[in-house]
């Protein structure tokens, strides 16, 4: 600006006109260049967006497959477990049904026999009734003789009555005995029937459970949206829970590390360092890693986890060997840690004693030491923890498996969403590039608006060329008469 005020405005206008003229002359190639650059950018962005979209779709498909596969595996495992339990139930309980049936039959037969035996036998009619009958038909005048006969009959009747009562009582006693014998059979029968009923109810419950699992498994197998939603929710929950458990386990491992790091320096020394870390610390870390590895192998060989499908697929003998080896390693390491915890206590006491002696507080420390209370409790606690913590760390394999499986699906979905978001942003960039190109072209034309205006005036002042219409076509045909002769007139 200062230059123009010095040289004068005419120079500025001259320069501006020259630039405008140059821009006008270079309009077509400049337009092509601008269009080419921005179209190129647009196409590149579009290509990237399409590619990212495809990757996102592919990733979603892959995540879906993995999720369904994991769900299928879990479903199969659950069904297998249920069927295994049902098989065991059938072998254990239903296998004994012929025997049970035989028992029930025997009980029923016993009850029937005893019941039949306990039925009331009708007592025979007394013999004197016929005598009374014939006596009543006799026409006797002698009352004395009658009364004597009647007395005899009475006596006979009394005797018979007594006999009858005696027989009746004896029969009843026998019947009661028989009925008492029925009671245990009855109870056993009732128990057998109740037991069978309970088992059948259990079977029904299990079969309902299997039905539920089966329905879910079928949905997973079909890959329905409902199953996918369920599996996604399940994966997220599993991820959160397993992360929490793993965090707790890491806390345990950290505590375990501090329990054995100091005594390890007594074994491997603490002066050497690898990458800034003491060798003794690394040795302690390696021991903890070995414990976790042994735990993983133990759980793998027990088929609780399936981190290594190779181990699960091994035959029982090999698996048993791995199981025993892992258990031995684990127990040995746990015992070693317990001993190290003991050693740690000794070293820590020695260090504390040294520090107190250096600071001139020997008497105070030794007074506490002699009490014996402060010394043995932490020592025992250290040793117990040294033994238990390695065994507890073996369980880390279960949440680890869940973490890996659920993490794969959850983070896979998250990554797919991220890629999709990137694709959208890049598509926005593509549109922005295209619009920017258009705006730039308009600005270019705006700068050379003057020459363009002149050009339009000049174009309008000249006669218009005949448009390429039917009329123009016919004019050409008349002029050349191509349709008839093919030769120009």
């Amino acid at each position: 600006m200062q230059y123009f005020t010095q040289t004068g405005w005419p120079a500025f206008f001259l320069l501006f006109t020259l630039i405008m003229l140059a821009l006008y002359l270079a309009r077509e190639p400049a337009h092509k260049a601008i269009k080419g650059i921005f179209d190129g950018l647009y196409r590149a962005f579009r290509l990237i967006a399409i590619s990212l979209n495809r990757s996102s779709i592919h990733m979603r498909e892959r995540n879906r497959e993995v999720l369904l596969n994991i769900g299928r595996e879990h479903g199969e495992r659950e069904l297998h477990k249920e069927f295994h339990e049902i098989t065991q139930f059938v072998q254990r309980d239903l296998g004994g049904y012929p025997q049970l049936q035989q028992d029930i039959r025997e009980h029923i037969s016993h009850i029937q026999t005893d019941y039949e035996a306990s039925q009331i036998v009708p007592i025979a009619l007394p013999e004197w009734t016929e005598a009374v009958d014939s006596l009543a038909k006799l026409k006797m005048n002698n009352h004395t003789a009658n009364s004597r006969v009647l007395e005899q009959i009475h006596e006979t009747a009394q005797l018979q009555h007594k006999d009858n009562i005696k027989v009746f009582r004896e029969t009843n006693a026998k019947r009661h005995t028989l009925l008492q014998k029925i009671l245990p059979h009855w109870r056993k029968l009732s128990f057998s029937i109740d037991d069978t009923g309970e088992r059948l109810t259990d079977i029904l419950t299990r079969s309902q459970k299997i039905d539920t699992h089966m329905a879910r498994f079928e949905e997973i197998h079909q890959g329905s949206d409902k199953a996918l939603r369920f599996l996604r929710m399940s994966a997220l929950t599993q991820l959160l829970i397993s992360t929490l458990v793993i965090t707790i386990a890491i806390g345990g491992a950290f505590f375990n590390f501090h329990l054995i790091a100091l005594p390890m320096s007594e074994m491997v020394g603490s002066a050497q360092r690898i990458g800034g870390a003491k060798v003794s610390d690394l040795a302690a870390l390696v021991i903890i890693c070995m414990e976790i590895s042994a735990g993983i192998f133990l759980l793998e060989s027990l088929r609780i986890t399936k981190l290594f499908p190779l181990i699960s697929a091994m035959d029982d003998k090999t698996r048993r060997i791995i199981m025993v080896t892992a258990s031995i390693v684990l127990i040995t390491l746990a015992c070693t840690e317990s001993a190290l915890a003991f050693m740690r206590d000794q070293i820590a006491s020695d260090l504390a004693l040294l520090r107190s002696s250096l600071s001139g507080q020997v008497m105070e420390y030794s007074t506490v030491e002699q009490g014996g209370i402060n010394h043995w409790i932490p020592l025992a606690a250290n040793m117990v923890l040294g033994f238990i913590l390695p065994l507890a760390l073996t369980m880390i394999a279960i949440p680890l498996e869940y973490l890996l499986q659920s993490g794969r699906t959850v983070f896979g979905n998250l990554f797919a969403n991220l890629i999709s978001l990137c694709a959208t942003l890049i598509r926005l960039c593509a549109n922005f590039a295209r619009q920017s190109g258009k705006v730039l072209l308009s600005i270019y034309d705006l700068i050379i608006a003057g020459p363009l205006f002149i050009e339009s005036i000049v174009k309008h002042s000249w006669p218009k060329p005949i448009k390429n219409t039917q009329e123009k076509w016919e004019t050409h045909l008349d002029e050349y008469d191509i349709s008839k002769t093919g030769v120009k007139k």
């Binding site: 100091l262 320096s265 007594e266 020394g269 603490s270 002066a271 050497q272 360092r273 690898i274 990458g275 800034g276 060798v279 690394l282 390696v286 890693c289 590895s293 981190l307 290594f308 190779l310 070293i347 020695d350 260090l351 040294l354 520090r355 002696s357 250096l358 600071s359 890996l404």
Partner: protein
């Protein structure tokens, strides 16, 4: 990646790390060379020096080096090293070494006799030699003195000290009676030592408040 492959990679990493461990053996070790002034009335200050020594001993770790030497009339000599130690890698052994060290210092402090002259520069040169031989990573020379040098006749100490990578800490620099009359002499004395150390390429620190032991390390 499969878990088995992860374990293989971990094992390979451990082997690689183990193979390069020998180079870093003394990478984090510290070395301390403490000069104790035994001239004149400064011997009265040695009981305080014992506390400093005990504090340093308590904070040393396996692999560290520590030596205590006296400043007498001619300090550039191995004979002036009262006791020295390179702490063993095993904690139990290093604790025993510390105990022995502390007991030697106790014996020295109870039986020390004052020397007629003060050769601080000679002690400093001896300290540089000791720490260079010790091949420690962090080299520290502690001068427990009033920094008043008084060389016997015929002793030359105007040599250039190579103190690259050294930290020299002057502890308990007491004020002399003359310093009280003219503090400038005290300041000049301290400044002269500071310039000598910095010219040699070392770091200089002055610690008079021994109640803050963290400053020692």
């Amino acid at each position: 990646m499969k878990p088995l492959n992860c374990i293989y990679l971990l094992l390979i990493n451990i082997i690689l790390l183990a193979s390069c461990s020998t180079d870093n053996t003394r990478g984090h070790t510290r070395g301390y060379y403490l000069l104790l002034d035994t001239s004149g009335t400064y011997t009265e200050e040695l009981n305080k020096a014992k506390q400093v020594i005990n504090y340093i001993l308590a904070t040393l770790e396996p692999g560290d080096s520590f030596a205590v030497a006296r400043i007498d009339s001619a300090s550039f000599s191995e004979k002036d090293i009262i006791t020295k130690v390179v702490l063993d890698a095993r904690p139990s052994v290093s604790v025993a070494q510390k105990r022995a060290f502390a007991s030697t210092i106790n014996a020295f402090v109870s039986s020390v006799k004052s020397s007629p002259h003060t050769d601080i520069s000679g002690g400093l040169l001896q300290g540089i030699e000791f720490l260079n031989e010790a091949k420690v990573n962090h080299r520290n020379i502690l001068i427990y003195s009033d920094l008043q040098e008084d060389l016997p006749k015929g002793y030359i100490r105007d040599v250039n000290m190579k103190l690259d990578g050294f930290t020299v800490k002057a502890l308990n620099v007491t004020k002399l009676r003359a310093d009280n009359q003219n503090p400038r002499s005290y300041m000049e004395r301290v400044a002269s030592w500071q310039s000598k150390i910095i010219t040699g390429g070392g770091n200089w620190e002055l610690i008079n408040d021994l109640e803050k032991p963290d400053a020692l390390l």
